[in-house]
Amino acid sequence: MGKFMHNVKKHVWSYVFIVPMAILFLGFTVYPLLSSVRYTFYNWSGIGVPKDFVGFKHYINIAKDPFFWNAFRNTFIYAGVLVPVQLSIALVLAVILNSKQLRLKYIFRVIFFSPVVTSTAIVGIVISLLSITAGSEISRVLVQTELINRPIDWLGDPRTAMWIVISVGTWIGLGYPLMYFLAGLQAIDQELYDAAKVDGAGNVDLFWYITVPSIRPVGIVVLLVTTLHSLRVFDIVQVMTKGGPYFATEVVGTYIYRHAFFGTGVGEGDANLGFASAAAFFMGILVMFISVLQVAAVRYAATYRQKRP
């Protein structure tokens, strides 16, 4: 205790600076999270005090609901495709943008980062409209060239909707990993490249043996952040497809939203915040478990690599 207090006194200003963020975190993250746990045991429309206690019924129903598992599967398909594709593109673009020979690189950086600061809702609406206007023209060309026999409803067809959403999600979030990678690349000592070149390394060798190992710590952070962020997908799906057609693009976020505010999507009277809270909590636990596994796997891989002769 004495040592602890001594440490606190020694670094008192560090704690002072942490306090505002800690208050916000406790007030706006921890408290709502814990208080929503109580609601998971009630049928509750969101009005007044919850009274209709149902115990673990919501959890049992969620575990048995094929539409929850459909949403769960879609969420992981979204994340499973988006993360590797987005990170690969981001890394390649970062290497290009880090090139000394590239002109107007600052303009390109701004351009690539701009989707991140654009409202997802606006992007979703724009892409939805493009899928109708430009999409119908693409369909027309495909029909004329006899590649398909009837026009495609890109966002209204269960076979294509999810892929369009994943593509847009990949594009809109590209800026973050790109900037992380760029920062990582800029921190690499140029002398490493020069020394490797003297040893006869080519461009591919430089990339694989200098660039990739040097940005691995950044890459692990980016991988974790991007994965967690993509598992929380909601807004782009809600704006573009509302989870449709017939749940083909429904993710856990839209599943929770539907039950919290609409129930079946037909009437306001069907909303059940208790059920939605249970779904959110259930998903939170699953994501937490997966995140722990992911961190453990990354650490194990790093340790294995270090031990390798």
């Binding site: 969101g46 493009l130 409803d153 509302k242 079946t264 059940n272």
Partner: protein, 514 residues
Amino acid sequence: MKYQISLSNVLTMIVTVAVLAGCTSPAVSPTKAPASPQPTIAPTVTVPPTKPPQVTPSPQPVKLVYWDWFPKSEGAYVDEQLHKFHETYPWVTVERNNIPDSMAYVEAIKLTFDTDQAPDVFQLLRRTRLRDYQQYVMPLNKWVTPEWAKRFPSGTFSEGSPNVAGENIYSFPFQGPGNVIRLLYLNTALFEKAGLVDSAGKPAAPKTYSQVREYALKITQACKGECYGWGFGGKDPGNAFGNVIDIAQYGGGSFFTLDGFDFKTGKYAYGSNPAYSDVISLLLGMKEDGSIIPEAMSLDDATIEALFAEGKVAMLLGKFSVATNWVKPYPNFDEFEIVAPPVPDSGQKGFWYYIPGGNTWHMSANTKYPEEVWLLMDWFASKQFAEGWVEAELGVVFYAEANKPEYVKNRHFADFVKFSSGLVKLGPSYSIRNPATSAVKPEAVSPDWADVFAGIYTGQLDMKTALAELDKRKQATLESAIQKAQADGAEVSIEDFIFSDWNQMEDYVTQPNK
């Protein structure tokens, strides 16, 4: 080295173009109209002009807070009326807070209840169960005298009506039942293009499902890929297939108090009543023909309405508000006709139905100024307010004599007013027969009809199996809700929901306890 520079720049340029392509400004879509208000009752009696109540002005100025979810057009009329109200009662000022997004409105009004800051006067949404909000609403029994109630049709304040709970009256109807009807919109130019016009140049209205399919195909073929015979906005299945289910109702289905429920047998009948399969088959047939705009499932209501006005779609179903939605973005667009919706080939077997009563405005249980709030509610229930509403082409009202086509200038709205009185009938009401049925609260089923219809249309579900399973789900929740209500002491049974003598082609006057 030159090659490296060139490759970097080329790759960067390619991705840049892709990024910029997505930043193109969107075409602005008209704002989607909110859900239609709750249907109320059409009077069969002549109502004398209402007189403002005699009141003693308060010595202190009174400021009332009033919340509604009216969209802009209705809101402008309400603002104008609130101004007149203030002129009549100068000591009362009304501060109107408008949230036209119905979902946002629901959340906001719930929040005011939770924080004891409910407005003095507020609206609730269509399909809102009064019992969920009862503690926040002031009973109006003190003011609803027999004389005052005469302006409404009989049955409006019966126990079991949507505005009555127990012996307490909480609200009164305003908008007429005709507002819920769906009409068929025909684009004159496209019908002309396909040669489907009569000698006067008016579109030949398809009367049956077969004719709809035939005309849609003819128009699509005449358009050669530039336009389509039929359109709908399937992005929001609740709206898009709400139109479809309403047409099914007209073809002999059920009505909104229990969608898909057959009141004659006490069973859900999505799978067994051809009214539903007929209309879905019509859609699937037109889809197979290529007559429906291919992007239908990606479009919202506002976009499909815009495409109709731009001559890309020849036919669509919609409420009367579709015509008024065009006024602002397409002020010169008049080349369309509104006709009665099509019926199955076997003929019309139903109508739109309504039950007596309705709830639009409510007084807060915690208001400090109940007398002044009542003045405002009485103003909303007045004949002059109702007539002005129709003249402003905002819909029909419960005062039948205000619903006259000659009151309105717009010929399309006049057509709607004409249809609205002929396409609605009084339907059976289990809540009037046995008010204890209010204790029966069927849980929501998922997926419900809107999603199931969407799944069938997109080929993800088999129609026969999906509709039969929907019936099973809904029947199970109803029976389970009845059992729960019985366990809680309510004297209810499935028999309360069965009206075996209901003739769907005629008005049905529900008798209490029978």
